[in-house]
């Protein structure tokens, strides 16, 4: 596939769930399904599509595994996240999507008893190497959570929080950054007259856009979005989706979602996870319309059993 169509197909044309007719019958073990095998604890080699070969990796996980205490949440995940693209992580609840996301900015460090194996490289920096600057690492990534979580401060202070903790004090700089960030999330006109009001008085959708503005104010390289729309109504969801597409021109975005249509609408690449394993990974168009595995097709079309 050429470089250009990926974007257009990913963003515009795909309208899942179109019951796709797989051209090639799903490969893999003919009898028992791949998911059954995974459930029984067999190793699974992810079906990674060729299209990813041509991409430049911003994030690369190599045989990355993670345990919460004795419980294993991720199994030797190897995947790249393509520069300047939107990558969606999909999969049933509890399959480790959030865990993988939180492994990239080492937010899992806050959880007691977490142990990892393998590595994740962000922009050439091995994230889990001893002596790595975790704070600096987190500054290079922006994260947005499932539930909008603005701080109990004014709207302005929320947006410029990352600059404040970097020690920025010049008023002009702060004001400009605040306005730019709020404009980027299309919130400026709505709140420019009440920047000093509490952020907790905003609607859920506004709060989530504020959280995105807060995440991008210090110009991170990667945006990690963990189900950013799951607490929002359809209209607010649509606005965030538009926003994601717009931000994708400037940032590399990794988004977790349970909404198959959303993944189809906003992403260039889609990774399907199951019980801590990466099952299939390829361009969104391929994963939705031409998946290698029968199980992927069943999952994205909602016939998951």
């Amino acid at each position: 596939m050429s470089a250009l169509p990926a974007r257009t197909i990913g963003a515009m044309e795909v309208r899942a769930p179109h019951p796709p007719v797989p051209t090639a019958p799903a490969q893999g073990p003919a009898g028992p399904s791949v998911l059954d095998a995974i459930r029984q604890g067999h190793a699974h080699t992810a079906a990674v599509h060729e299209s990813l070969r041509s991409e430049q990796a911003v994030i690369e996980a190599r045989e990355f595994s993670l345990w919460y205490g004795k419980r294993r949440a991720l199994y030797a995940i190897s995947m790249i996240v393509a520069r300047g693209k939107v990558t969606a992580l999909i999969g049933p609840s509890g399959c480790g999507k959030s865990t993988l996301l939180r492994s990239i900015n080492r937010l899992n460090d806050l959880v007691e008893g977490v142990r990892i194996e393998g590595s994740i490289v962000l922009h050439g920096v091995p994230v889990y190497a001893p002596g790595v600057d975790v704070i600096g690492l987190r500054k290079r990534t922006g994260m947005v959570f499932q539930k909008p979580n603005p701080f109990p401060m004014s709207i302005r202070e929320n947006v410029i929080y990352a600059l404040r903790i970097n020690g920025e004090r010049r008023r002009a700089v702060l004001d400009e950054a605040c306005e730019n960030s709020l404009r980027a999330v299309a919130l400026w006109d709505e709140v420019k007259d009440r920047l000093r009001h509490s952020a907790l008085g905003m609607s859920g959708g506004q709060q989530q856009r504020l959280c995105i503005a807060r995440a991008i104010v210090a110009e991170p390289e990667v945006l990690l979005l963990d189900e950013p729309c799951s607490a929002l109504d359809p209209v607010a969801t649509l606005r965030i989706e538009e926003l994601i597409r717009e931000l994708s021109q400037r940032y590399t975005i990794l988004i977790v979602t349970h909404n198959m249509q959303q993944a189809a609408r906003v992403s260039d690449y889609t990774a399907f996870m199951y019980l801590g394993r990466l099952v299939e990974y390829g361009s969104t168009a391929d994963v939705y319309q031409n998946p290698r595995l029968r199980e992927t097709e069943q999952y994205v079309t909602g016939r998951f059993g």
């Binding site: 937010l107 806050l110 987190r138 994260m143 959570f145 202070e157 929080y161 903790i165 000093r196 210090a218």
Partner: protein, 285 residues
């Protein structure tokens, strides 16, 4: 069929419950009112300009005022707060924010619980042994130290609880933005908890303002106005205790005034702290 059918038994139950709650409320407010009225009716008459303007004369029939004790109590509360509140807050932050991953919190929490339960007379004796004896004499410092000792566990435990109530999602968001743990605590968690932490601080202040036993063994008391904490130090509680247990009616009457003033001080301190924190929280930092 009506959607909600009245169940007579349930209705009765709820009425009885309501009546019981109302009765208890009235009882408590009534007792409180009675005490206040009684205190005012006796104490107010005994409170005069002279009470605040004059020091004790040493003459039992014309005892003068309690200026020295009012000043002494205020200074003791101030010094004890300066020592006790920061220590208590730091301990509370430690228990709540760093408590999960170190070995210490278990023992620290146990010790604060035990300390919070130590009878104040024991604190007095401890203060005598640990402060008065080494320092060589009864003093305001020793008194403030003993009072601070009472404050620390109260402030520590209440602030720990209040810090724990701050949603974890704030800490996560802050960490994800690249804040260090101390930045998260200072900029997000502490301001979010400030309003309720103040309640714990007020509790502690109210508690020490009324303490007598620890001061008997440490600050001792004094007939003279002083602002030097290295000397034996006057306080309202000790003064009231001395007068109230003595045989002279004029002094006993003054003791009532002392109690009224003490309660007023506690009230004013509480209200002003609350106002200040409200203002701090409202103003966008």
């Amino acid at each position: 069929m009506p959607l909600v059918r009245k169940n007579p038994w349930k209705t009765l139950q709820s009425r009885v419950m309501f009546a019981a709650c109302a009765a208890c409320t009235v009882l408590i407010i009534g007792v409180l009112g009675l005490v206040t009225v009684y205190l005012f009716s006796i104490g107010f008459g005994a409170t005069s300009w002279e009470f605040f303007a004059a020091d004790p004369t040493g003459n039992a029939l014309d005892p003068g005022g309690m200026r020295n004790a009012v000043v002494g109590t205020l200074i003791l509360i101030g010094l004890a707060s300066l020592i006790g509140i920061p220590l208590g807050l730091l301990a509370g932050v430690y228990l709540s924010e760093y408590g999960t991953e170190r070995l210490l919190p278990g023992p620290v929490r146990f010790v604060t619980d035990v300390l919070a339960g130590v009878p104040s007379i024991v604190v007095g004796i401890l203060g005598y042994e640990l402060l008065v004896v080494p320092l060589g004499n009864y003093s305001g410092w020793a008194g403030a130290g003993a009072l601070a000792f009472i404050m620390v566990p109260i402030v520590a435990r209440t602030s720990e609880e209040m810090f724990r109530l701050v949603p974890d999602s704030y800490r996560q968001a802050s960490a994800a933005l690249g804040a260090t743990r101390s930045q998260t605590i200072l900029r997000v968690v502490a301001p979010a908890a400030a309003g309720t932490v103040v309640t714990g601080i007020m509790l502690a202040i109210a508690r020490i303002a009324g303490e007598t036993a620890p001061l008997l063994f440490t600050a001792l008391g004094s007939r003279f106005l002083t602002t030097n904490p290295s000397e034996p130090f006057p306080s309202l509680t000790v003064q009231v205790y001395t007068y109230a247990t003595g045989p002279y009616p004029a002094q006993r009457e003054l003791a009532w005034a002392g109690i009224l003033v003490l309660i007023s001080i506690i009230f004013v301190v509480n209200v002003s702290i609350r106002l200040v924190t409200l203002r701090v929280r409202r103003s966008p930092a």
